[in-house]
């Protein structure tokens, strides 16, 4: 058997194992499904009425942001999953087997991608209930979902790296989430980046979360309400879809080797 097909098989086995874990502990899905629902409802009904004067338009705007935020949070589940496997000695057992080195990481990020897809589905239904609609073409919508999943997968590799840095589940539970808050809130996920003060505005403009949120709005054909219509003149803001995809690829190019190198290191400690 060639190396590539052996790696694919091993990654598939690890993915299966991770998904069986999710199936046996459905409460693991609470974070991935209930949390986005909570965010949709909170933002739609708490902020919706105070941002601008058209709550319906805000909800339409909001969904792209919640999509981006939710798939970004996928990385935290990868962080916790990696830390748990390390702590429980599962990684040691894998390491003592004649299997592909990358399979544990690929399997983890792939199974988290499946969970993330489920979260997107739940969220889309929830969005439809509060008035959000896909108003663009089917092709654009498919590209939109594909881009969100690509972003989820890319963030998952950062999460895997952080999980190995944290080493145990308790640290991972805070380390996995803490950086998500600035990254997802200093963006145009919930408000317009152009209203932020100086440095925050620059950060938000170049933040991949902004690009993914704006790209999702574009691809799903969601209008921006009047008060939030202003978009920065910067290049990423003008080319959201392209910048979102480039960001995802850049994250993967940077973090895949870092995570693999870290895996080799922690696993041989």
């Amino acid at each position: 058997m060639t190396t590539i097909s052996a790696s694919t098989r091993d990654s598939g086995v690890v993915t299966w194992r991770n998904l069986m874990n999710v199936r046996r502990q459905p409460d693991l899905l609470l974070g991935a499904t209930l949390q986005p629902i909570m965010f949709v409802l909170l933002f739609a009904f708490v902020f919706g009425n105070s941002i601008g004067n058209d709550p319906d338009a805000y909800r339409e705007f909001l969904m792209g942001g919640i999509f981006a935020q939710t798939v970004a949070f996928n990385s935290a589940y990868t962080t916790i999953g990696m830390a748990a496997d390390l702590e429980k000695g599962v990684i040691d057992r894998f390491r003592s087997l004649p299997m592909s080195r990358a399979a544990v990481l690929v399997g983890r990020t792939t199974s988290d991608l499946v969970v993330s897809a489920l979260g997107l589905l739940v969220m889309s239904v929830c969005g439809l209930l509060v008035g959000w609609r896909i108003r663009g073409s089917v092709v654009d919508a498919v590209i939109g979902y594909a881009m969100l999943l690509l972003f989820s997968f890319a963030m998952s590799w950062i999460g895997a790296w952080i999980g190995m840095l944290s080493g145990n589940v308790q640290v991972a539970q805070s380390a996995g989430f803490i950086w998500m808050f600035p990254v997802t809130f200093i963006s145009s996920a919930f408000v317009s980046a152009s209203s932020m003060p100086g440095p925050l505005k620059v950060f938000a403009e170049w933040n991949p979360v902004t690009a993914v949120a704006d790209a999702a709005r574009e691809l799903f054909g969601n209008e921006r309400p009047g008060v939030l219509a202003a978009r920065p003149e910067s290049w990423p803001a003008q080319h959201a879809v392209l910048f979102a995809i480039v960001s995802c690829v850049a994250i993967l190019v940077i973090f895949t080797p870092i995570a693999v190198a870290k895996y080799r290191k922690v696993a041989s400690k």
Binding site: D10, R17, M20, R24, S96, K269
Partner: protein, 337 residues
């Protein structure tokens, strides 16, 4: 140097590993002939687990070489991994998978196809008396059942060398006996086994040859009997009712013993090494009877591996490495770690 002959399943030469300023391994040599069980015995922190991790390719040595089934652990780790089965100190069973799924997964990761992996999993579950619990998640298993499942996982690929790192640490006595039985069967099947343990009777019971390791060095090796012989013969122990009689007992024991007797006033006990075993015991009792000394208790002890450890290292196997021995504790507790 050429790889070891095929009759040697595992060979380590001058393994050194340091963690920061701690020299975890300070030149460990060992050799396991194929089809035998080697017990690596030592207290916590002696270097047992570090040795195992190097031999199973989980860790690279700073210097020294090791071969498993003829493969160099550093140069050809994949070949080593194909030749070994590891059962860890903390059972690496996935508790949310069923027993069957755990073994199936391991089989697939050894490169077996679906049919073979499934067949092997069922076969091992039956052999390890887990078939009735095969389709329940492993988290419903008792500690002993989990260890059996973990052991079964190490055997999925019928490896040339099975490595058992503290297979009974943390188990209750029943779980330990259960695990010993399974290891005993393994051995009967002719597997080459490297077993680490901090329980002396475990090494005594299961291993063909014992390597005693302390502070990263092998300080003695041999069969259990050879190690016991190093400590000398048996020990005759006599307890009397009156402290005033201790002197007479000491006098008699110095005549029948092979060494100076030791008197423990507080316990009103005198003991001495003897070479002639029961003969010395009968002789001592006869003389004490002539002197009308009331003997409350008498015992003839074969040296235990505990005694061996104490005489080799100056500390008991279960004390902290630097702690002073406090007599020889017999009733050892199963430590939950």
């Amino acid at each position: 140097m050429p790889p070891p002959a095929s009759s040697i399943a595992v060979r380590a030469e001058a393994l050194v590993k340091t963690f920061g300023s701690t020299r975890a391994l300070d030149g460990v040599d060992l050799e396991i002939p194929a089809g035998t069980v080697l017990g690596l015995l030592g207290p916590n922190g002696a270097g047992k687990t570090t040795t195992v991790r190097i031999l199973t390719t989980l860790l690279r040595p700073d210097s020294g070489r090791a071969f498993v089934a003829g493969h160099d652990v550093v140069a050809d780790p994949d070949a080593v991994r194909r030749s070994i089965g590891l059962s860890g100190q903390y059972a690496a069973v996935d508790e949310h998978l069923t027993g069957y799924e755990n073994l199936y997964m391991v089989g697939r990761l050894y490169g077996k196809n679906r049919t073979d992996a499934a067949a092997r999993a069922r076969e091992l579950l039956a052999r390890f008396r887990l078939q009735d619990s095969a389709d329940r998640p492993a988290k419903t298993y008792s500690g002993g059942m989990r260890r059996r499942l973990d052991l079964a996982g190490a055997l999925v690929a019928e490896p040339a060398v099975v490595v058992l790192d503290e297979p009974t640490t943390g188990l209750d006595p029943r779980g330990r006996l259960d695990t010993w039985e399974v290891i005993g069967e393994l051995v009967a099947d002719g597997a080459t086994v490297l077993l680490t343990t901090q329980y002396l009777e475990e090494a005594d019971q299961l291993a063909d040859k014992i390597f005693v390791i302390d502070h990263g060095k092998v300080i003695a090796d041999g069969t259990a009997d050879q190690l016991k012989a190093q400590v000398g013969g048996e020990r005759l122990e006599i307890v009397v009712g009156e402290p005033g009689e201790l002197a007479a007992v000491a006098q008699v024991l110095s005549e029948v013993g092979s060494d100076e007797p030791v008197t423990e006033d507080h316990q009103r006990r005198v003991h001495v090494k003897v070479d002639t075993g029961p003969k010395a015991l009968v002789e001592a009792l006869r003389r004490l009877d002539q002197q009308s000394v009331t003997v409350l208790d008498v015992a003839l002890h074969r040296p235990t591996l505990d005694d061996v450890f104490l005489s080799l290292t100056g500390h008991s196997a279960e004390d902290e490495p630097t702690a002073e021995p406090e007599g020889k504790s017999k009733g050892r507790k199963a430590k939950s770690r």
